[in-house]
């Protein structure tokens, strides 16, 4: 992108606020759930719902990690949308988890307990999700003020483990090595690697 185009884009960003992202962002989840309820997601609507919510959560997380390199490397500044994208990622992960607990396992606690203590891909998913919780809770200005920007930033570096773990969760749940989850893992590791590389330079 030429300099002028980048500048124009950044100009547009200045005038477009972040709040519509929340509204637009939850619409696909609502639509998906409606489709699942009305039996329009194929023979196994539960798995379709569970998979799609998990995949969108992962994609949104990757999007949050893309913001910094976009600014560094292409001078595109989307930082004002990062919080909204991150919170949406949490919203989708939560939906994914609730789908698992409610519709997949049907609140069958003994089986759920076995899953989260015995099965590596579930354990990894749970760790990834739990690490998102403090991030979601502190994604507001008050928390930044209370924690102080330095502590806050340290805390939010948890993202660097959330994304690779979520992608690893995806890789491991397939019965064979499959390209799609491995690509997610590769992209996730690349973006996290970029952060560390950048820090060393700084």
């Amino acid at each position: 992108m030429s300099m002028t185009q980048t500048q124009r884009l950044n100009q547009v960003v200045k005038t477009v606020s972040a709040w519509p992202i929340y509204i637009v962002g939850v619409l696909p989840a609502a639509w998906l759930f409606y489709q699942a309820v009305s039996n329009n997601l194929g023979a196994d609507p539960l798995k379709a719902l569970e998979h799609q919510l998990g995949e969108w959560a992962l994609q949104l997380l990757i999007a949050t990690l893309l913001i910094t390199p976009l600014r560094d490397l292409f001078k595109i500044n989307l930082i004002k949308y990062r919080r909204a994208i991150g919170l949406l990622a949490f919203f989708y992960a939560l939906g994914h988890l609730l789908t698992y607990l409610w519709l997949d396992q049907q609140w069958w606690w003994s089986a759920i307990w076995k899953d989260i203590t015995k099965r590596p891909y579930i354990i990894i998913g749970v760790i990834s999700f739990l690490a998102m919780v403090p991030l979601a809770i502190t994604s507001n200005n008050l928390s930044i003020r209370k924690l102080g920007p330095l502590t806050w930033r340290k805390l939010h570096q948890l993202t660097y483990i959330v994304v690779p773990l979520a992608a690893l969760h995806f890789v491991l749940l397939k019965k064979t090595w499959q390209l799609e989850p491995i690509l997610y893992l590769g992209v996730g590791l690349l973006l996290v690697g970029y952060r560390f590389w950048r820090k060393r330079l700084a």
């Binding site: 196994d44 539960l46 997949d104 099965r119 397939k174």
Partner: protein, 303 residues
Amino acid sequence: MTKLNYSDVTPKGVFLNRRKIIAGALASTALPQIGFAKPLDVVKSEYTVDGEITPRDAAVTYNNFYEFGTGKGDPLANAHTLTTDPWSVEIGGLVNNAGTFGLDDILKDVTLEERIYRFRCVEAWSMVVPWIGFSLSELLKKADPQSGAKYVAFETLYRPEEMPGQKNSRFPYPYVEGLRLDEAMNPLTMIATGMYGEELPNQNGAPLRLVVPWKYGFKSIKSIVKITLTDEQPPTTWNLIADNEYGFYSNVNPEVDHPRWSQASERPIGGGLFAKRIPTLMFNGYADEVASLYSGMDLRTNF
């Protein structure tokens, strides 16, 4: 002999629904096989189960057949280009009557019957399917196994031109499966050539496949081209890929979990988003017929 009417085995809603699909299918010949295939003349059998038959639409659209892709919808999308006519099966190994037999040859001496079986996937979902076919033992008796034969090995077609999943795959194709001879001779073990009153759709393993209802679905090998009687336990594909996850026997057993999921219950496919999980039965509900095959064996180590 009662002649089976197609609508006898399919819930009415599904039956009517399909008219819409057929209308669409007629518009294009290259469409995936979701509408009518050739209807078959069959007789009813004693084999049936309590519980509702899975809607046909679910059974022909939700498939594991990695030769056509790893997604559940990939077989439907890709399998319609498979050539199933002509088709022959090479029967050999420790038999007195070895040879390569055309499909018509195989079918001319058997009576096709409908058997409604539970079908349990290792991924903890299940269906109830009205298969059409005959006992594998009939075919094996014709081949006349020698006294040293102890196992039966099966092989799926290898034809990457028509099976896109076989191209550039690290999966060790062709897909192979196996049974102990006594398992293969059990009357429940069948060769299916049809389902829901019609020929098998390609995505379900046309033109002929194995159905072993007390074992996880991957044992029921599809689109068979080779059957070999052996004196040693034959290799099986999923066991070659991950022997800690998939054993040779792979009998349905709610007490022995797969490392990545519980086998204690299953999700019936076709019941919508809120379908209730149901408990999985030992040997998938066929313990009376097959438990004796494994008496004295530790089913935890022989999983």
